[in-house]
């Protein structure tokens, strides 16, 4: 492939190839402080499905070791997003070294909060805000749970902020390095934020999960307990490789929900969210 880049994010190395230069240049700029893997775990390809698609209304089809049939291509202007989605896809379909949970993670004193919820529930924004208040950022898309040790490993890729979350993050990180504005994607307006330097420097330090959170933003403040059964079922739904991991996945997840308290928090805004989190943390 004409243009290529290799990067390592936490325990996962990617080889990214592209028919166009622009997405590679953007990824290289934003990931400039990340290590380079020796042998990549996954190959990602951003390609033109038909030769003329490289030039006329160029559109980027996502491919790699693991692919979805009939995936809709993205316009070249959203090539950076395509690259991020492609890396997520390889992980979601092919990764099995750790149990994957769709969650954001922050850490303090070696202990981690794992925040899980549907797309748009606010877990990326919440993790970003907490990271600006002294928490170490470990990731906003995937929590990597080690079935042997129960530790959660960091996967601090570019933070994917959507719509109102973009302004909130910009306010919390006035000196943050942001990627280009990507308006009108299928998920709304998107902008990527490079994780703080500490997050990148410490990406190989795992942490012990101490709190499971189910956050929901934009509603009246409320905190409630979540039982182990409910947490278990919601987490299996939030995992792309639970089934593939078999017995190890079962032990990892039952261990997690039995060993770690789970809470649902609803909050009207970022400040309320942070207050709720700090209160829960202090009460552990």
């Amino acid at each position: 492939m004409r243009h290529a880049l290799s990067i390592r994010i936490g325990p996962v190395g990617f080889r990214i190839g592209s028919d166009w230069r622009a997405p590679i240049d953007q990824l290289a700029a934003l990931y400039r402080d990340y290590p380079v893997p020796d042998v990549a775990d996954f190959t990602v390809r951003l390609f033109a499905a038909r030769a003329w698609r490289r030039v006329i209304r160029p559109s980027v089809t996502i491919g790699g070791d693991y692919m979805l049939p009939d995936a809709a291509p993205l316009p070249l202007a959203h090539g950076l997003l395509a690259g991020e989605m492609a890396m997520n896809l390889q992980l979601a379909l092919g990764y099995r070294r750790h149990l994957l949970l769709h969650a954001s993670v922050v850490e303090r004193d070696g202990r981690a909060i794992v925040m899980t919820g549907e797309s748009g529930a606010g877990k990326s924004t919440l993790a970003t805000l907490l990271a600006s208040r002294g928490w170490r950022f470990m990731g906003d898309e995937f929590a990597l749970l080690d079935p042997e040790t129960g530790l959660v490993h960091a996967f601090p890729r570019l933070i994917s902020l959507k719509n109102a979350g973009i302004a909130a993050a910009a306010a919390a990180w006035p000196d943050g390095r942001f990627g280009p504005s990507l308006p009108d994607t299928p998920k709304g307006d998107i902008r990527h934020l490079v994780p703080p330097a500490a997050a990148i420097a410490r990406m190989d330090e795992p942490a012990m999960p101490a709190l499971l959170l189910f956050p929901r933003h934009g509603v009246a403040a409320d905190t409630r307990d979540v039982g182990a059964s409910e947490a278990f079922v919601r987490l299996t739904q939030a995992s792309t490789n639970y089934v593939a991991l078999g017995e190890a996945g079962f032990r990892a997840l039952t261990g997690l929900v039995r060993g770690v308290p789970a809470r649902a928090i609803d909050y009207p805004d970022g400040d309320a969210a942070i207050a709720a989190v700090e209160a829960l943390w202090a009460g552990l």
């Binding site: 190395g13 190839g17 990549a40 693991y66 070294r97 078999g246």
Partner: protein, 333 residues
Amino acid sequence: MGRAVTDARLLVTALVDPSGLRLDTDWTALIAIARAEQLIGTLAHRLDGLPVPETVAMLLADARDAAEQGRRTALWEAEMARRALAVTDTPVVLLKGTAYVAAGLLAGRGRSIGDLDILVPRGRIDRVEAALIAAGWEWVKPDPYDDDYYRRWMHELPPMIHRERDRMIDVHHTILPLTARQTPDAAALIDRAVPLNDGLSVLCPADMIVHAATHLFADGDLAGGLRNLWDIHCLIDEFGTGGLADRAAHHGLLPAVARAARLAHQLYRTDVPQQWRADAPTDALFRRRLLARDGWGRSTRPVTRLAFYIRSHWLRMPPAMLARHLWIKWRRN
């Protein structure tokens, strides 16, 4: 690192002579090709215990685990089909990957397995269909044209999927479409099947090789060909070729089996009898198609691929039907 990897020869060499791989091999390309060809589990077994870089060792261990998981899922699916079909008093013959793992064959080591494929007598097909539906399987596609075409001409029921487990089953009544030029002896396949436990069987070794060769050449467009050919290599390695030519001739499928044996010998150095050691004129074209994968895992050689796609349809259907079928498919897309 040397020149870009432009075909799948790197994978073939690794499978045939794994201890000959150098530490400065282009591992990323090798893994990308193996994954694209559904051979990563097989490669992982061939390289088990050999010195490789640490990341590669972890990826290959993952691949072995994934294959083991796949094996368990496939065997469970076979068990659930057995339970559902016990009431129909029908011989149920497992085919392809599930058969290889159920019988503990070399061909099953590290193999990726997709759907469950079974063979039943044509006369029992309605009973089998009813029993599967009663046990929670349902049709995948509700398209009436495809359904009609399937029932009249294909060698299998339209695809079904289990409602709860989300796994597909393909129920065959012979091993080639009824519109194909050859008509294998389906009753003989079932007649010579080898029982496992509790009502499931697998084809006898010679028939397994015939089926694999048939599937590779006469039925498909050679996509996934390296894996199918590796199955054939393993089957010949395990069972030899005694009685194979006669059995293939009985089914009218000797040319496919002969070509499979030649190509397995040419690529995988399979130990085959003398008459299958010489190159036939078009073997080079088949090798070209089989090896059409680059170091990024992309399918290459589009003209060759298209030629094989058209050829595979030509083999399945009489020309007038083919024209109609492709026309309707094109209009629908």
